[in-house]
């Protein structure tokens, strides 16, 4: 009977309802997803480590609890994966690098622990670019491929999370985002990813990349699934000095409250430039038109400092990454792949005054965005990426680090501002790859971002499209 109820690409919310009503058991759900991983991941390479035994043990515990009448909530019995940048108790945490290839932490990162405490079932650890920023093929594992086309990359650095959710391997994946590492893989895989407000989700137990910009967040199939996961992940944690001591609302509460009168900001000069692919811009304009039809007011805005965000990011990111890795990059450089080794070493050659000036420029980017979100609009819309896909052979660190219209051109400014930004599907390119719509909102106002994203998702068909695997 289970075979008729559990389907590939079912959402987290749909599966949770089946578990809640005891129509399926967490054990059946875990087996279903582990079987899909066994069948599909040999070619997809989304997973670094599959924790089958642990998952089945957690699923049996969830089943027993639910049968005893203790249903914890919508994540109870839900299979999820974790980017291999998060520490996981008793499960190796490699960061995609030989430098940590055999490291088994003794504790869980707070965000992982929060999901486990809600009853989540850990399927395993998924791929990351090496140390969250290097190449995807210079560490101990092969590069993940894009479920929509194996010749294409699922971007990065949460490439395993995007690939896994895009392929329907698990119902939720915990990713992390410094300059776009949740939103870009979500966009390329045709699913939903949220970078929340800086400080909303604890980073304790997540391997650092760039302290002043790193955030942890979810990738899932729909906006509702993402909101359910984010509600579980978020919360104050005194072990993370940037953690916000603020109440966490129920992010699913007003998802369908409508968007009538909400103001959507569009910066044509910087987020729809000539160098971006025409089909991407057309799909995002169509999405903006849909929001207008739903009652939103579309307003033009101007964020000129955004043009320098990528430059500032380069110096900040390199410096902070070097500070974190310095001891090991000096004592064991051979354990890092050539790409990330050079990138991390370069941070030592950036003087303090350049780092500080880059932060000053970043402050200007942040001020412009926050001012616009305070005085002009409720949400800013843009493409998530300037193109819909990138072939694996073209997804190189060198290309990512070039100034100009870089892959993270529209995601970096919101990382620097520390405000929440979501990516959700809004169409397909001429060559059949998914296109992402990015919606960014005010600090700690993820609720409005979720509300606008839900309105668009419900008015569009894209989230119902699945890759042929």
């Amino acid at each position: 009977m289970t075979d008729t109820l559990l389907k590939p690409f079912m959402t987290l919310a749909e599966t949770a309802e089946l578990i809640r009503t005891r129509s399926v058991s967490p054990v059946e759900v875990a087996e279903f997803h582990l079987d899909r991983i066994a069948k599909l991941d040999e070619s997809l390479h989304a997973f670094f480590t599959v924790t089958r035994d642990k998952a089945m043990e957690q699923a049996r515990e969830a089943e027993a609890e639910i049968l005893r009448g203790r249903y914890r909530g919508p994540l109870h019995g839900i299979p999820f994966s974790v980017k291999d940048m998060y520490m996981t108790a008793g499960v190796r945490t490699t960061t995609g690098s030989y430098a940590l290839a055999d490291w088994v932490p003794e504790f869980d990162a707070t965000a992982v622990r929060n999901v486990l405490d809600e009853g989540g079932v850990l399927l395993g650890k998924v791929a990351t670019l090496e140390c969250g920023t290097g190449a995807s093929d210079e560490g101990p594992f092969p590069s993940p491929t894009n479920p929509w086309n194996p010749a294409y990359s699922p971007a990065g650095s949460s490439n395993g999370s995007g690939a896994a959710i895009g392929a329907g391997l698990g119902l939720l994946s915990l990713g992390s985002d410094t300059g776009g590492s949740i939103r870009l893989p979500a966009a390329f895989a045709g699913v939903v990813g949220l970078r929340g407000t800086y400080g909303r989700v604890s980073r304790w137990g997540h391997i650092a990349l760039s302290w002043s910009q790193d955030v942890c967040g979810p990738i899932a199939r729909t906006v509702l699934d993402t909101a359910l996961a984010y509600s579980a992940m978020a919360g104050f944690d005194p072990r993370d000095p940037a953690s916000a001591n603020l109440p966490v609302p129920d992010f699913t509460e007003n998802l369908s409250a409508g968007v009538n009168g909400l103001r959507i900001g569009i910066d044509e000069n910087h987020f729809f430039s000539q160098e971006m692919d025409a089909d991407v811009k057309a799909a995002v304009w169509e999405a903006v038109e849909t929001l207008r039809r739903l009652g939103c007011v579309i307003k033009k805005i101007d964020l000129p400092s955004v043009a320098y965000a990528h430059d500032a990011q380069n110096l900040i990111h390199s410096s902070e990454t070097h500070a974190f890795h310095r001891k090991r990059i000096i004592s064991e450089p051979e354990k890092y792949g050539p790409t990330v080794r050079s990138y991390i070493r370069n941070g030592a050659l950036i003087p303090a005054y350049d780092y500080i000036n880059a932060q000053r420029i970043r402050n200007r980017v942040r001020s412009e965005i926050c001012r616009s979100l305070r005085d002009e609009v409720d949400v800013i819309a843009s493409p998530t990426a300037p193109r819909a896909g990138e072939k694996l052979t073209e997804f190189t660190t060198e290309k990512r680090m070039k100034p100009g219209i870089n892959l993270a051109h529209t995601t970096i400014p919101f990382s620097q501002a520390g405000v929440p930004a979501i990516s959700l599907p809004c169409g397909f390119s001429d060559y059949g790859m998914p296109i992402g719509l990015q919606l960014a909102g005010r600090a700690f106002d993820e609720a409005t971002v979720f509300r606008v994203a839900t309105a668009y998702e419900q008015a569009s068909p894209w989230h119902t499209s699945n890759p042929k695997l």
């Binding site: 940037a242 350049d354 000053r360 600090a443």
Partner: protein, 80 residues
């Protein structure tokens, strides 16, 4: 950050930064990243104005954006 043309001068800079010896391929790759960052540095330096943040008011809000959102902090209460 200055542009360094000569590879031997660059090697000295790398050694002074404590990065230790490395082979020619690594040195060349590192110089590629360095050249990119140095170009960026020049571009950004031209943008920074003295009146961006008067010295007496500059604070590390960029390290923790929470510090620059007083309207949020003033309404703070314990998290879950």
């Amino acid at each position: 950050m200055e542009i360094i043309q000569s590879i031997s001068a660059f090697e000295q800079r790398v050694t002074a930064a404590g990065l230790g010896p490395m082979d020619a391929a690594d040195l060349e790759r590192l110089k590629h990243y360095y050249d990119g960052a140095a170009t960026i540095s020049t571009r950004l330096f031209d943008l920074v104005r003295f009146d961006d943040e008067p010295a007496t008011t500059f604070h590390p809000g960029w390290i923790n954006p929470l510090l620059t959102w007083p309207e949020v902090i003033s309404s703070s209460s314990p998290g879950k």
